[in-house]
Symmetry: C2
Subunit: 405 residues, 2 copies
Amino acid sequence: MKAVIEAVPGGTVTSPEGFFAGAVSAGINARAAGKLDLAVLFSETPCVAAGLFTTSKLKSAPVQLTKQRLDPGKAGAVVVNSGCANAFTGEHGLVDAAEVASLVAEGIGIDPEDVLVASTGVIGVPLPMKRIRPAVEMIIMSRDGGHDLARAMMTTDTLPKETAVSVKIGNNGFTIGGAAKGSGMIHPDMATLLCFLTTDAPVERHFLREVLKRAVDLSFNMISVDGDTSPSDTALLLANGLAGGEPISADSPRAEAFERALEQVCVYLAKLIAADGEGATRLIEVKVSGAATILEARKAARAVVSSALVKAAIHGADPNWGRVVAAVGRSGADMDEYKIDLYLGDIQVIKEGRHLKSGKRAVNKLLKGKEINLRVNLNLGEGSATAWGCDLSPEYVAINSEYMT
Amino acid sequence: MKAVIEAVPGGTVTSPEGFFAGAVSAGINARAAGKLDLAVLFSETPCVAAGLFTTSKLKSAPVQLTKQRLDPGKAGAVVVNSGCANAFTGEHGLVDAAEVASLVAEGIGIDPEDVLVASTGVIGVPLPMKRIRPAVEMIIMSRDGGHDLARAMMTTDTLPKETAVSVKIGNNGFTIGGAAKGSGMIHPDMATLLCFLTTDAPVERHFLREVLKRAVDLSFNMISVDGDTSPSDTALLLANGLAGGEPISADSPRAEAFERALEQVCVYLAKLIAADGEGATRLIEVKVSGAATILEARKAARAVVSSALVKAAIHGADPNWGRVVAAVGRSGADMDEYKIDLYLGDIQVIKEGRHLKSGKRAVNKLLKGKEINLRVNLNLGEGSATAWGCDLSPEYVAINSEYMT
């Protein structure tokens, strides 16, 4: 059974059947008046659900609440706000997060336990509940509300991140959609800051968790903006089954197609996040091959996209290849300086550890492009991996030195 | 026996008896014409010696050579250059490093095997041997040549880093001196980029190694500038014994005083390096106490000084304490958000996880100072540690986006 995976034009998190969303401007961050900052995503039928969360010991109130509510593997709605992370806010933060979920549950008419919560923004400041309470009632849900939800999640993001793909297998099919936010504080050790994935495919609970974990490992866990991580990082996947058919599990005929399509959505969103890093002007893609193992390839690829020196050099279109090799060297992956090859796009710049006299003009042209593709071949084994990041610009510092004041 | 440790006014790496140094401008980096860039340090009598090196899999030619030569635990001289790291330069780099050592050995009249080598600068470019060969002969050695050596090591450093302390125990005494360089690419996992330590105390070989390791762990391994590490990182300690007395070993009466004095020299140099981070305008000192273990305290302290978001906030004098707590949270150290206390200087800003309404004007004044002191008490155990870093400024990016071009 051959599957065809296609991008849905104008696709978003509400593209799959039965998903609705809506957003309002609640005025959560007084400095971003008028910006959409509170949104709800819900499914007209109950969903099987899975989530991945920050590995930080400091977990935001929404992360604590949502983790717990996802235990039974089901959900009906997600409420998200930007402007305030509700992190490092103590017991009070938990009470606030639960109240927001209850208000949404009441509005939709579902069990509060089926409402998940996510927040992003400043750490250490309580949610302005006085502004949120009346705002929840103003949210109008629609089938194309995913676009507004993607906008409501944004903080320092300059663009909304959303997509959907449709999968056709014979006469059957299903759709997977997603919306994400994340700009600063995105680091390889973590899930993305916030990512909501939806599908109308019927998916078995345990398989949903497994496949989400693998897709996140290949996408959001392979991007880096600034090496920091957040107490709020959350990736959720909701499956309502409205597309019909047998529930997909690990040994289903449709399992492979579902996993590939989910990966495609996650990688697309992850690249958008990397390219939209705070102050970023260029997307950096690093493919490492020939590593001793896949894990070592991942370490090496992430070390290169995380290197402040590599990122700054690329910002300046500076062909400082030594920094790329130095990043691989300190990644912990096995390397032999006499075997390493490095390519910029299709131009080989290092062969078996020696700098080639590559055409300066061609190199310079590629380095000034919007997307920098680096390929490292360690020539030691079969492990390969891809990571994405962005350049480091003076604007990154400007954005992050004036976030609160 | 009570020891008195005092700073030597104008102290440097040649302050201990019997050490000489000299430097010249060899023109290694064509863009820094006239700058001192090649220096030799030597002792008139053979030294017991120990070294610590980068943990990167990519090791510069000087690191490979020096590691090997230090195996017997002795040395007579060190030759250092800036402007070119002689890293990622293959077999040829090893030949060049050995030739530089041989030229110096010939000039001084010692065994080439007793000459150690260190280089710093651009990675992936061969040493300009044509300029170095004649320059070695021009070096004039003197007892106060340490000052010139400290200058010759500088790359993007804005200030030379040098110091010495004298230790008096009854009628006996000895001196410890040091010179270091390091600005970008300084990260907690590593020894400093380059640090040469000297003493006229007689020290037993194994104790010298142990005590160097412990002092580096408390100093150079607790600083961070940009999270990157270098293939060249080297810390060397040479002891010529000219101050006389019994060789100091682990159970000697003078062992404790020697270790404290060495620590003092290393911490002093490490703080100078942190404060002189590329583009830095402020030194950040983070003391973590109350951690479950010392190792966890170190992790937490280093996570805070390494956080790009904390560093950028401090650059902007932005009281974004949530970022400090978030950095502790993701460090891997155990924490409880309901127990954490945070102080800026003497002002407590967080108590048991709650933001205090601390005087805004006083906080603002401290945040605009040249040295930012943060104290985190996790209130969980007895582990404590101190780390140093600097703010992240737009100038960091400017410096690092135009290093080669």
